[in-house]
């Protein structure tokens, strides 16, 4: 359909997909890698990440009529669906939730914690994550491990930027408290 290498806006792709779901292929190809890696980080299992990614796109195809342009990108909407699907998976299987961390990502998180924490090992930092709820871990993952902005986090979680900031502040406070007690 698009043989020439012309740039087609995201909005146009969505309109085309709304008209005929076969046109969803362009959105699928565009965002597959993004969603797959997002889920792989939270599952550490390529086959499972593939299954949930597929589910995410099926849900997106079923509900694309409900998607409206409100100033945030289509990827945020897909991230939100994938997070819901992931939570559903962990709720149904009752398995431990997976957190993947690159060691280079930990210092930034340590900077937010009290000065004593800087001398703590990575293990201690990781242990402090265990005191958080699923939602709180998601916030930490997005902000410190995936380096997302407050705006992006708010778009994915469907909350205001101010609310995202407040929630993150509370999570950091909770982690600090946990480290101080230890």
């Amino acid at each position: 359909m698009f043989k020439k290498k012309e740039k087609i806006s995201e909005e146009k792709l969505i309109i085309l997909a709304k008209r005929d779901r076969k046109n969803f292929r362009y959105l699928y190809t565009k965002y597959y890698e993004l969603i797959f890696l997002f889920l792989l980080r939270r599952t550490e299992n390529e086959n499972l990440a593939q299954d949930i990614t597929q589910q995410t796109f099926i849900k997106a195809m079923l509900n694309i009529e409900k998607f409206e342009f409100k100033g945030f990108p289509f990827s945020s909407w897909l991230y939100r669906i994938s997070l819901n699907e992931l939570n559903l998976h962990y709720r149904e299987t009752k398995k431990k939730r997976c957190i993947s961390i690159d060691q280079s990502e930990l210092p930034e998180l340590a900077e937010e914690l009290p000065s004593e924490a800087k001398h703590l090992s990575n293990e201690d930092l990781i242990k402090s994550l265990n005191g958080l709820t699923d939602g709180e871990v998601t916030l930490i993952e997005m902000k410190y491990f995936e380096k997302r902005s407050h705006k992006e986090i708010s778009e994915i979680l469907g909350i205001t930027v101010a609310n995202a900031k407040v929630k993150l502040h509370r999570v950091i406070k909770k982690m600090r408290k946990r480290i101080e007690v230890k």
Binding site: Y28, T29, L40
Partner: protein
């Protein structure tokens, strides 16, 4: 579950190649699953075209409302409410009771 191992934390995970990810893509499979879900029941078939069916939906709702109103009217005309006879006493016609 104890608080200390609530999550399965993995350090320095391996990232798959772009080619590996591409090999996992299966739009045909997703589309097939989508069509299967959409056309499974008449209701989901209707929902699928909900945005195009606004006029039909309004018409159906209107018929349901008018139908239920007619039904209530019919019920009321078939079973009129029973008149409750109340005893009325005309104070002017009742005999005056003077001091005996």
């Amino acid at each position: 579950m104890s608080d200390d191992n609530k999550y399965d934390v993995k350090l320095n995970p391996k990232k798959p190649n772009k080619e590996d990810i591409k090999a996992r893509m299966d739009f045909e499979g997703a589309y097939k699953a989508y069509t299967h879900k959409v056309y499974r029941t008449p209701w989901s078939r209707f929902q699928r075209h909900a945005s195009k069916n606004n006029k039909t939906m309004m018409f159906i709702i209107l018929i349901i409302v008018v139908g239920s109103l007619l039904f209530i009217e019919e019920e009321e005309s078939n079973n009129p409410p029973k008149d409750v006879k109340t005893e009325q006493v005309d104070s002017l016609k009742s005999p005056l009771k003077l001091n005996e």
